[in-house]
């Protein structure tokens, strides 16, 4: 059980690292939104799964799941909002968003 926990939490942490890497490496705002939304939510989900066996009671475990669900809902909405905002700021730039890349690491 403990090894499973290690595995899940470790994998979750890995996805967080990937998310940040994506945030730093990807060339434009849209692709960065992809990276961070998808990787971080999965990371938090795995981490939360790994922590579940350590909780003391059923409601406490459910509370962890609730936190994850809240983050999921929030970042799904936030990803749409910010993508919509960026598109509204530069409506013409969207199809060529990747040609305006500012930096390549």
């Amino acid at each position: 059980m403990i090894y499973l926990q290690y595995l899940l939490v470790g994998a979750g942490c890995l996805f967080f690292i990937v998310g940040t890497l994506g945030l730093l490496r990807f060339p434009d705002t849209f692709t960065r939104i992809h990276a961070i939304t998808k990787a971080d939510n999965l990371g938090l989900g795995l981490l939360m799964l790994g922590l579940l066996p350590s909780t003391e009671s059923l409601p406490q475990a459910l509370k962890l799941i609730l936190i994850w669900l809240l983050v999921l809902a929030a970042s799904a909405t936030a990803s749409y909002l910010i993508a919509h905002y960026v598109k509204a700021q530069s409506p013409d730039a969207l199809p060529h968003a990747d040609t305006t890349s500012e930096e390549q690491d």
Partner: protein, 89 residues
């Protein structure tokens, strides 16, 4: 077990601080806000780990708050802030 939680929490803190680079560099305001969003999610993860490592289940409640409210700053940005579109760098 506790040592493992601490290690992971420290690693997450490193990723969080690396996110600071994106806030600093931008170049778009949206990029900076995106990095702030990263801070919210990673902060929740760190708080959950600290709740285990420090044996304080009350920290789960602390984690609940950024999970609930991180989106408010993003909404305020999208609806209210009117930053300069690009910043010369």
């Amino acid at each position: 077990m506790t040592a493992f939680w601490w290690t992971v929490a420290a690693l997450l803190l490193v990723t969080l601080l690396a996110g600071l680079i994106r806030i600093w560099r931008g170049p778009n305001p949206a990029d900076r806000m995106l990095a702030a969003q990263l801070f919210g999610t990673t902060g929740v993860a760190i708080l959950l780990l600290l709740a285990q490592a420090m044996q304080t289940p009350a920290l789960n409640d602390v984690a609940l708050v950024p999970a609930l409210l991180a989106v408010v700053a993003m909404v305020a940005f999208v609806r209210r802030a009117r930053p300069e579109a690009e910043e010369p760098e």
